[in-house]
């Protein structure tokens, strides 16, 4: 051991000699090195290893500004989809308990929620997933390195350990799948010192208490949704519009529901400063951009959900000439996920123009592995990818928004069918269903190919998955009408839809 420590500078010289020798002889340490151990990186590396390649994956988590860090698995597993959905479920169960009483359940006393119990259970589950991924890499014979990877040249990666120790690896092909991290606003004093992001919220040991969520992305609305659902005083501050990029009519219904659910909204407002009071609470000052008035209030926590930035700065891309988008910082990629350098690929959240979703990253990663192993030339199809926003009333969609359909086909080229419906479960529970709504956007001519499907209601994700297959198969409105519904469900309303926006008739579904 001592010999190694003393001769560390000698070791570096020997190492670079080996690298030089390897490069000259054309032999690399690995066939493929993947930088990033998230949804995409893990899928790609495991698939490549199964196809016989020698693969290594580098995963490293820089702690958040608040010091939160996590294990192998990436954003989805640790600070995204998984903990989000579990906390969303916790909130839904709270509503279910309230409904239960109308269904006859005798619940004595008040029902309250304990953050610590939920957080511990969620965090334990996430940790079990970290371990599961570790075991999978071992089983699939992928070398796992807990190092922060940087590109030295197009075949060489430098990995830095937490202790600062350097490791050099060479690879025939390099895949970048480092994902993104939440942004902090740059112009609000106190933002970073006193605010948290989605990187932190799921790992809090204590309840965030009265929370201000700044932003109106799906991250903001989903978090605000479950915080409200578990009984916390929650406010959402929106600068301009909610759910940018989504169908705006649907976005409006989502926020309408959130407001009726109990979340407070500060529209057209931007925070100007954050101060910590002697009591430990946060005083947030903001400006209403419409009235110009300044307001302030105290909160226990401030959650910034104002966008995500790609993790590309530390990769050393500019040195190698890998092209990135000036606007977003993401890597410019071709339809085969290739970058501007021939053997370097990028996909997942860091790919410019790519959806920031786990299933697309996983599928793209696997297809990329097949292409790199020379087994296929199939490219990833990013069209008609279904998604769901897990707000208390869920919003699922696949295909085009109404705005996009109008842009592509013209208002006269499309027919929009819509319906307001009431889930049967809401009736006895006496729940308001004003925002339970479905929209099917079709081509106007011929068999009316379906361009987009939008469903706002309980279990939207489950409802929509099957319909996304229909869109993939090029389903038409005619075929939709030939489909018999399952009764009684909310999903059946999709195959019964018949009132058009154009007709101006009342789209409320009545009776069976």
């Amino acid at each position: 051991m001592a010999a190694l420590c003393r001769g560390s500078h000698r070791w570096k010289k020997i190492n670079s000699f080996h690298v030089l020798k390897r490069n000259l002889t054309g032999k690399h340490d690995y066939d493929l090195v993947v930088i990033g151990g998230g949804s995409g990186g893990l899928a790609c590396s495991k698939e490549a290893a199964q196809l016989g390649q020698k693969v290594a994956v580098l995963d490293y988590v820089d702690p958040s500004a608040k010091g939160t860090k996590w294990g192998l698995g990436g954003t989805c597993v640790n600070v995204g989809c998984i903990p989000k959905k579990l906390m969303h479920q916790a909130a839904l169960l709270g509503t279910a308990v309230k409904d239960a009483q109308r269904y006859g359940w005798q619940i004595s006393g008040t029902v309250s929620h304990d953050w610590a119990t939920m957080a511990e259970a969620v965090q334990n589950y996430v940790k079990s997933l970290n371990w599961g991924h570790r075991v999978q890499l071992q089983d699939k014979k992928v070398t796992y390195l807990n190092l922060k990877g940087t590109l030295v040249d197009k075949h060489t990666i430098r990995g830095l350990s937490k202790a600062g120790k350097e490791t050099i690896l060479t690879a025939k092909n390099i895949v970048l799948a480092t994902g993104g991290r939440p942004k902090y606003p740059s112009n609000v004093p106190g933002a970073m010192e006193h605010g948290i992001t989605s990187d932190d919220i799921f790992w809090l040991k204590k309840s965030p208490g009265k929370t201000l969520v700044v932003g109106a992305s799906y991250v903001a609305l989903e978090c605000a949704g479950f915080l409200t659902g578990i009984g916390l005083d929650t406010t959402v501050m929106v600068r301009t519009i909610a759910l940018r990029g989504f169908d705006q009519q649907m976005a409006g219904l989502v926020t309408d529901h959130l407001e009726s659910y109990g979340t407070r909204f500060e529209w057209k407002s931007v925070p100007t400063r954050v101060e910590k009071l002697s009591s430990g609470a946060l005083k947030v000052t903001w400006t209403n951009t419409q009235t110009g008035c300044e307001h302030s209030d105290t909160f226990d926590s401030l959650l910034w959900a104002v966008g995500r930035a790609p993790e590309t700065k530390a990769l050393g891309l500019d040195k190698l000439g890998v092209q990135i988008s000036k606007e977003t910082g993401k890597i410019i990629v071709g339809p085969d996920e290739s970058s501007s350098l021939p053997n370097i690929y990028a996909f997942g959240d860091i790919g410019e123009g790519r959806p920031e979703l786990t299933p697309t990253a996983i599928k793209a990663g696997r297809l990329l592995a097949h292409r790199l192993a020379g087994r296929s030339s199939e490219l990833m199809n990013y069209d008609n990818v279904a998604t769901t926003v897990f707000t208390p009333l869920e919003y699922g969609c696949v295909g085009l928004s109404e705005e996009e359909a109008e842009k592509r086909h013209g208002k006269d080229g499309i027919e929009v069918y819509h319906a307001f419906y009431k889930p049967l479960e809401f009736t006895v529970a006496q729940r308001d269903s004003s925002q339970c709504y479905i929209k099917v956007i079709c081509e106007r001519a011929g068999h009316q190919k379906i361009l987009g499907l939008h469903f706002l209601g309980p279990n939207a994700g489950e409802v929509l998955q099957g319909f996304s297959l229909a869109l993939q198969c090029g389903a038409t409105y005619r075929q939709l009408m030939q489909t018999v519904g399952i009764h009684p469900t909310s999903a059946e309303e999709l195959v019964k839809i018949n009132i058009t926006k154009r007709s101006g008739l009342d789209p409320t579904v009545t009776g069976c």
């Binding site: 294990g71 965090q123 334990n124 589950y125 940790k127 079990s128 970290n130 371990w131 570790r134 075991v135 071992q138 089983d139």
Partner: protein, 193 residues
């Protein structure tokens, strides 16, 4: 060697590979530890101490203490055995080698995780079963998040996983929860009763 091969044969294919790979790792570890033992070779009379009871020790107490520190594989005194004293937490790979692989006693290794619910039930149950044996078997606890490499080396995939080691060889193992009776019989089998 025979026992390792037997375990390998008894298992279905995927586990077979894991067991054989595990066996290979153990052999490597064994070779390493044997050479370490050569360097640290003790007077031959001392070897008898760890397998016999205190009353038949061949060396005077001061030398015994110099060979084995109190917290090692032997309990402090037979009278003071409580569930707490029965198991120890493995500190690092060297500690594992010294106290488990090189142990003169059979050792049960409880691979567990902080996030694992069933582990919290199995741990105390296993300690109870081990305590009943009054010093004939030791128990080591390995937190798989703190000692990932060790857990991976021993092929742990799900937790709780308990492996039984005797003379540096894995002689038995199980995954998941077991009740008190099953644990008693498992422990007895490991000791060789």
């Amino acid at each position: 060697m025979f026992e390792r091969a037997k375990i390998a044969r008894d298992r279905k294919n995927p586990e077979n590979r894991t067991d054989l790979w595990m066996a290979h790792r153990l052999l490597v570890r064994r070779v390493w530890t044997l050479s370490v033992q050569d360097i640290r070779r003790l007077p031959s009379s001392a070897a008898a101490i760890s397998t016999s009871s205190f009353s038949t020790s061949l060396q005077s107490p001061p030398s015994r203490v110099s060979l084995l520190s109190p917290s090692r594989t032997l309990p402090r005194t037979l009278h003071q055995i409580s569930r707490r004293d029965v198991s120890f937490n493995v500190q690092d790979t060297e500690d594992f080698t010294e106290r488990v692989v090189n142990s003169q006693l059979p050792v049960l290794v409880d691979f567990h995780a902080q996030w694992c619910g069933p582990c919290k039930i199995l741990g105390p149950r296993l300690e109870k079963a081990v305590a009943k044996q009054k010093g004939r078997v030791a128990m080591a606890k390995v937190d798989i998040d703190e000692h990932t490499d060790l857990a991976i080396e021993y092929g742990v995939s799900a937790v709780p996983t308990v492996i039984a080691m005797r003379g540096g060889d894995v002689v038995d193992h199980f995954v998941g929860i077991k009740d008190d009776d099953e644990l008693d019989s498992f422990v007895s089998k490991v000791i060789g009763q």
